[in-house]
């Protein structure tokens, strides 16, 4: 299995604090030692840092932890491989272009009997069930919406509906973003928290690290963090239900 981390914010925000907690689970406080990745959106563009090395001892992860890249939409993943060997092409997140937009995806779980997923337009590069499911999702979306619709909420609602089909094949917790919206779909383990004024303090579960958000944020900032398991031990995270989806736009829950 793996762990997911996502962020949706109304102002470009760094994710160093949450990412620091996640990284510890990549071979230190957790067993997810089979690579890690993180995708940051900046404007219409995005950039991904990934490494098949365990995140707790990755040089690139150290840089990402220390260098505050500010973004309104972030997806991250640490991997404990099940389907597909440990290598770069099997490392999440995965990104594909659709309608001239970068779409990024990461998955936690495991699917069975997924051989009937045969995407034509998008093809997996690696051999994970996750990338195959992502290609299938995008194929279905592209079939239904050959050009970019004016209402992106509909697209993400459709992605959540398609995720129900994938959940029937096993465990399918996932994060999907186009850089403006972040969709969280829960199969069994996914929780989220929205931070806004008045901001408080929070302490990481996995590392000896505390943050006072009041010192780090503006009064109008809204920042949602989504994770497989809560990253802090002194905040109230909302646990999602099996089959539930949550769509965030720039920090706010919209659907």
């Amino acid at each position: 299995m793996c762990e997911l981390l996502g962020m949706s914010a109304n102002v470009p925000t760094d994710i160093c604090f949450s990412f620091s907690g996640l990284l510890e689970r990549g071979g230190n406080t957790g067993p997810h030692k089979d690579g890690w990745g993180i995708t940051f959106y900046e404007g219409k563009g995005c950039r991904t840092f990934k490494d098949p090395e365990p995140s707790c001892r990755s040089e690139i992860a150290k840089l990402v932890k220390a260098y505050p890249i500010k973004s309104v939409s972030v997806i991250s993943h640490i991997r404990q491989g099940n389907r597909g060997p440990v290598c770069l092409e099997n490392t999440h997140p995965f990104t594909r272009e659709l309608w001239g937009r970068e779409i990024t995806f990461a998955h936690n779980g495991q699917l069975s009997n997924y051989q009937d997923l045969q995407p034509e337009h998008y093809r997996p590069v690696g051999n994970t069930d996750s990338e195959l499911a992502f290609c299938w999702l995008l194929d279905k979306i592209r079939q239904k919406y050959p050009s970019c619709p004016s209402n992106m909420t509909d697209v993400f609602r459709y992605a959540a509906k398609l995720s129900q089909t994938l959940r029937e094949k096993g465990v399918f917790n996932m994060l999907l973003t186009d850089g403006v919206y972040v969709l969280a779909y829960c199969s069994n383990n996914l929780q989220w928290i929205t931070r806004r004024a008045p901001f408080g303090k929070a302490t990481l579960i996995d590392a000896d690290m505390m943050i006072d958000f009041q010192k780090e944020t503006g009064p109008n900032d809204v920042v949602t963090v989504i994770a497989t398991r809560p990253l802090t031990n002194d905040e109230r995270w909302k646990k999602m239900q099996p089959g539930e989806s949550a769509l965030f736009k720039l920090g706010e829950l919209v659907s």
Copy 2:
């Protein structure tokens, strides 16, 4: 204008030496301060580091320079923007998936009257002439080869032929790779060198740095480096002619 750097090798090789020289041209010994990027292939996967910051003072560039990622195919680019503002989505290299393979592209030059390039299958995310040309190239390749042909040399020969059409629209020096082959197409400025035993020493033009390749390589290593301008001052680089292409497979010139 911009500068290109490519590498094709028969064993996974780091590009730290050449990349160090290129980086200096990104705002220090050269004017290419509008971002930089580098894509490394490892197996079927690839990873890209990019930054709209000038390479000579980019934290991420420092990491890439110091951390020897070993690869058989690398494409890098430093940008001095002409078409399209300085932002992440306009930063080369660009990567798209075709037939389940990652294809990566970077361009040096400037095109005019490119509005008739209207790719349907692949769409640009940013607004550079370069990414549009790349999408158009991939569209054409996909039309001609709906599935992956057994002979990839044909595909790259076709890409070189298409590049002739693009050269008619302006300056089109480019590098294109699928991780096994690296195609260099010259419009006006592109040079390459193949290093093999007996290896010698080389000195960078843009930084106070010398390397003794004999100490860094095995006796059977073959490493080709392609660049807009020679990076070393004590080796003989082969200058390509306008309209000339060179296709390398794992270090060796094959077409």
